[in-house]
Amino acid sequence: MRKQAMEIVQQEKVGKDIYRLTLAGGLAAVPGQFVQVGVSSTADPLLKRPFSIHYCNGSRLVLLYQVTGRGTNLLAAKKEGEILEVTGPLGRGFPLPEEGRAVVVAGGMGAAPLYYLLHALKSAGRDVTFLYGARTAAALVLQEQYRSLVRHYAAATDDGSFGRQGPVTELLQEELSRRPGVVFACGPEPMLRGAAAIAAGFNSRCFVSLEARMACGVGACLGCVIPGADGRYRRVCADGPVFAAEEVFPA
C-alpha cells in the first residue's frame, strides 16, 4: 500500500462514457482490491476517486471507468503522458476458492474488477462461468476480452438488445440450477442482493463487492461504513469492498 505518481500510457474510449486507462508502474494486488486516484492537482475536487483494479501486473495498472460526474469527467480529459497520483492497492479482495467451479456475475460497470478476477481464476485452472448483464448492449463493453477468459459465457440486457432480456440474476438462477459453484458478484446493490439470495437458495457461497462514498479509502475516517447483517457497521474500504454476502445482507 503506497502513494505513487503514475504516468498515463493509454486512455481508450471503449464505450459510451466508458474509458480504459492504462498507467505505468507495478502494483501487487489481488482481484477485488481498488485504488484511489487523484483527478485534480488543486483543492477542487478535493478527494481521490476509488476505482477497482481492472487489471494489474508488475509494470502496469489498468482501470475501467465510467464518466458519471465531475471527477470522472476530469479524468477522461487527461492525456497520455500526464501523471496521476494513485494510492493502493486498498481493501480486501475476492478470496480465491481452493477448488470447484466459480460463477462470476457482473452488472454494468461492476464488470471492472471481475476482469482481473477472471484472470486469476483462469491461472488457477478453475472452471468459470461469466454472466454479464447491463441495461443495454452498448454498456456490455469489452465482451470479447471477458469471453476469452472463461469456459461458459452468457449475457443479459434489460432492454433485450443483446443476450437474454431481463436481469442478469435470471442467468445466475439457471446456471446454479445446472451446476453448483461459488458466486462472485459486482454491480448495483439490488442486483447483488438478488444474486446473494439466489446463491443462498442453492447453498452456494457468495461474495459481493460493494461501493460507498469514501474519504480516506484506508480505514481511518469511518466515512464509508455500511450496516452489516448483524447491524454493526463495516468499513467498505478496509473491511471490504468484497464481503461474504451473509456478512452484509440479512438472510
Partner: protein, 307 residues
C-alpha cells in the same frame, strides 16, 4: 545547518510541531503502513467516549468545494478498547494525545479515569466542539461557564497535559478560550469543523444521513487562521492550529498566525504522506529564510505591517 523544530505544548515536548487531527488518523495503524509514525511530533487518536458508539447512519461523507462534510458521529470503540489500541502506539516513542468526548461532564471524567493508568496516553484533547453529537456536545462548547466547570473537573483528575479543543461555531470565541485557560488547561486546539450541509438535487434530500455534518479541508482554512490569530492573542496558552492544512506553506501560515503546533486532518485522506511532507517542508522554509528554530516564527505575522 539544522533547524530546531521542537515545540512545547503543556508538559509535552514535541520534536516537531506536526500531528494528525483527531478522527482523521484512526488509532494510527492505517497510516503506519505508509510511513513510520515515529516521525510525527505527536499522534492524536479518534474521539473517545466511555462506552462504544456506533456513530451516525450513512452516508457520512459528502465532498464540497475544496472541502468535505463528515457526519461520523463519534463512532469509537469506547474507552476500555481505546486504551488497548493506544497502548500499542507506545513503541513509536512519540506523545499520544487522546481526544476525549462525552455527553456529560461525568462521561469526560470517566474516560480520563480509564485512560489515566495507560502510560502511552500522554495528553488529553477535550473535544467540547463536535458538531455531530446532538445531546450536550454542542452546548459544552458554547458556554464559558460550562467549559470552566468541565475543565476544572478534569484538571483535578489528571496531571497529564490537558488540551481544550474549541468550536468555531460561536459568536465570540475569546471568552471560551479564557474560560479554559482560567480552569487550568495547558493548551487550546482549534478549529473543529464548521456546521454545514449539502443536498442531492436529483433525490431532493440531504446527502448526509445525519442531514448536517462538519465542514473541513482547504475551504475552511481562512476561517481557522482567523480563529488561531484571535485566540493566540487572547490567551497565553499555546494554540494547536488546524483547519485545511494540506502543505507546509499552509502550516507556516498557521505558525505565523500564532499557532505553536499544527494538526492535519482531511489532507491525510487526499495524501497519506502529508504529515511527513509537511514536517520536511517546515524545516526547509525555516532554513531558506534563515531561521534557527520554529519558535522564531510563531506569531511573527502579527508583528509585521499588514497588506
Amino acid at each position: 545547518m539544522t533547524v530546531d523544530l521542537s515545540v512545547k505544548i503543556g508538559k509535552l515536548i514535541l520534536k516537531n510541531p506536526v500531528m494528525p487531527a483527531s478522527g482523521c488518523f484512526g488509532y494510527g495503524e492505517e497510516y503506519a503502513r505508509f510511513f513510520n509514525l515515529s516521525r510525527l511530533g505527536a499522534i492524536v487518536v479518534k474521539g473517545t467516549t466511555m462506552r462504544p458508539r456506533p456513530g451516525n447512519k450513512p452516508p457520512r461523507i459528502a465532498e464540497t468545494p475544496a472541502g468535505i462534510l463528515n457526519a461520523i458521529g463519534l463512532q469509537n470503540p469506547g474507552a476500555e478498547e481505546a486504551r488497548l489500541r493506544i497502548g500499542q502506539l507506545a513503541g513509536y516513542g512519540i506523545p499520544v494525545i487522546v481526544n476525549v468526548a462525552g455527553n456529560s461532564k461525568e462521561e469526560y471524567l470517566q474516560v480520563i479515569q480509564t485512560l489515566e493508568k495507560e502510560e502511552a496516553a500522554s495528553a488529553y484533547e477535550i473535544n467540547v466542539s463536535c458538531p455531530n453529537i446532538k445531546a450536550g456536545g454542542l452546548s459544552f462548547g458554547t458556554d464559558p461557564g460550562v467549559i470552566y466547570e468541565l475543565v476544572s473537573l478534569l484538571r483535578a483528575a489528571t496531571k497529564k497535559t490537558l488540551i481544550v479543543k474549541l468550536s468555531p461555531n460561536v459568536t465570540d470565541i475569546t471568552p471560551l478560550a479564557r474560560a479554559a485557560e482560567d480552569a487550568g488547561a495547558d493548551a487550546l486546539s482549534l478549529i473543529n469543523t464548521l456546521v454545514g450541509t449539502a443536498i442531492d438535487i436529483q433525490k431532493r434530500r440531504p446527502l448526509l444521513g445525519n442531514v448536517t455534518g462538519g465542514l473541513s479541508g482547504p475551504a475552511v482554512k481562512p476561517v481557522a487562521l482567523h480563529f488561531v490569530w484571535q485566540v493566540s492573542d487572547a490567551v497565553k496558552l499555546p494554540v494547536i492550529g488546524m483547519g485545511g492544512i494540506s502543505s507546509a506553506e499552509d502550516a507556516v501560515e498557521f505558525l505565523l498566525a500564532g499557532a505553536s503546533a499544527v494538526a492535519i486532518g482531511t489532507a491525510n485522506f487526499v495524501n497519506p504522506l502529508v504529515c511527513p511532507e509537511v514536517i520536511d517542508g517546515i524545516a526547509a522554509y525555516l532554513q531558506e529564510n534563515n531561521f534557527n528554530s520554529v519558535g522564531e516564527i510563531i506569531g511573527l505575522a502579527k508583528k509585521g505591517k499588514a497588506g
